[in-house]
Point group: C2
Chain length 238, copies 2
């Protein structure tokens, strides 16, 4: 059976031995283990042929199965925190023929289904080799003490600046063939071939890296549930 649709696999990389937030993938965020957010998100996207958790941990494998996803047990030598994105993606692509792989990171649990859907649509239409999710920074930026996106001789309103785009790794897509070729030719496939930038809304682009990020994400989820009425200072209240 052939179709014109590209075969797209969602890969969810996850380790049990996370460093800065211990065991973050099974830690409960608003009552649900972190990795379930990424799995549920990917399972709900009709553009994916398969959803596969890429981990060394049988426990995470069980969690994947419970949620209806597949489990790829990566080799032990790729299960340490030294293992790079390049290495585990290369291994995964060797094992899983497809047209594209979309890496869905567990560290962005606030991503909305509609945003993922737009990402997948964009991937199919643009046909880039690498599609990176970015945050659009509408602020004056410097590199090496030099202005990047503004003229210091004149202050412009921030919302009128050309934004700097910051890669956030919430979602990343690669054309399998391009990744493998780039890896073979120059030892690196992560920025293979032509690339596209896909802006993610600010309130979905949280990146759970530290305990403080975790507190923030939890608060944001709770804050969305209760809409507390603003209270104001009055002259007598101080």
């Amino acid at each position: 059976m052939t179709t014109n649709e590209p075969r797209i696999i969602a890969m969810i990389p996850a380790r049990m031995g996370s460093q800065r937030i211990p065991k973050k993938n099974i830690r409960l965020l608003d009552g649900k283990p972190l990795i379930r957010y990424a799995i549920d998100l990917a399972m709900g996207e009709p553009g994916f042929d398969r959803v596969i958790v890429n981990s060394e941990s049988e426990e995470l494998g069980r969690l994947a199965a419970d949620a209806g996803a597949e489990f790829y047990r990566r080799p032990d030598n790729l299960s340490t925190h030294q293992a790079t994105n390049e290495q585990f993606t290369l291994d995964f692509l060797h094992q899983h023929p497809c047209d594209y792989v979309v890496m869905v990171n567990t560290t962005s649990p606030l991503l909305r289904p509609a945003t993922l859907a737009r990402f997948v649509e964009h991937l199919k239409k643009s046909k880039v080799d690498t599609l990176l999710s970015v945050s659009a920074e509408f602020a004056e930026c410097f590199f090496d003490d030099q202005p990047i996106n503004f003229n210091p001789l004149k202050k412009t309103n921030s919302q009128n600046l050309v934004p700097v785009h910051k890669v956030i790794w919430a979602l990343t897509a690669w054309k399998r063939e391009s990744f493998l070729t780039a890896h073979e030719q120059r030892g690196s496939g992560v920025f293979a071939g032509t690339f596209g930038l896909f802006p993610i809304p600010k309130d979905e682009s949280s990146d759970l890296d530290t305990e403080e990020d975790w507190v923030l994400a939890e608060a944001l989820i709770e804050g969305k549930k209760k809409s507390s009425k603003p209270r104001y200072w009055t002259p007598s209240s101080l």
Copy 2:
């Protein structure tokens, strides 16, 4: 009486008619009106000769007085949301002789006294004309679809990248004379003369611009008070 210390004024700009978060300066954040965070922070900094709230609102003026700060009532034509930083700072500097002005924005209530102290020290030592507070972004960044701080031929660990610095306007310092001269010469003093970049820690660099930012800041303050014990998924808990 003369001293070798430069005369530094803290200016806290505030309007009652804020746009995206209505009346944010008197809205209670964890029980305290937003503007009080900036006032209390500035009042606690020994490097400031004066702390002056720059506003059109008598109500905010009263709040300033309650907190021991001074109040400069800006002209009515500078009280709309169209009034620019350039305009109200120029007006303020005309009215207030000093060596430096440090603008303390009310939108960054999480700033710590120690960070402000380091900022003021840095200002005195570096003697730059403009000192900008920035957030250091250790991530791959693009401008105009071109990589800024990384080589796409090779993936580098993010923490090893040279960061892009994003201006956050939490704290900004200007040498009065340089601002006035630059304004006269080219109509803009905001990026006057030589400038320095002062990185602010991530967890202090919140910028309250939307309702969601507010929810986040409130959550972060609450999250710092209670340190909730992490809970984890166990095979039986799903």
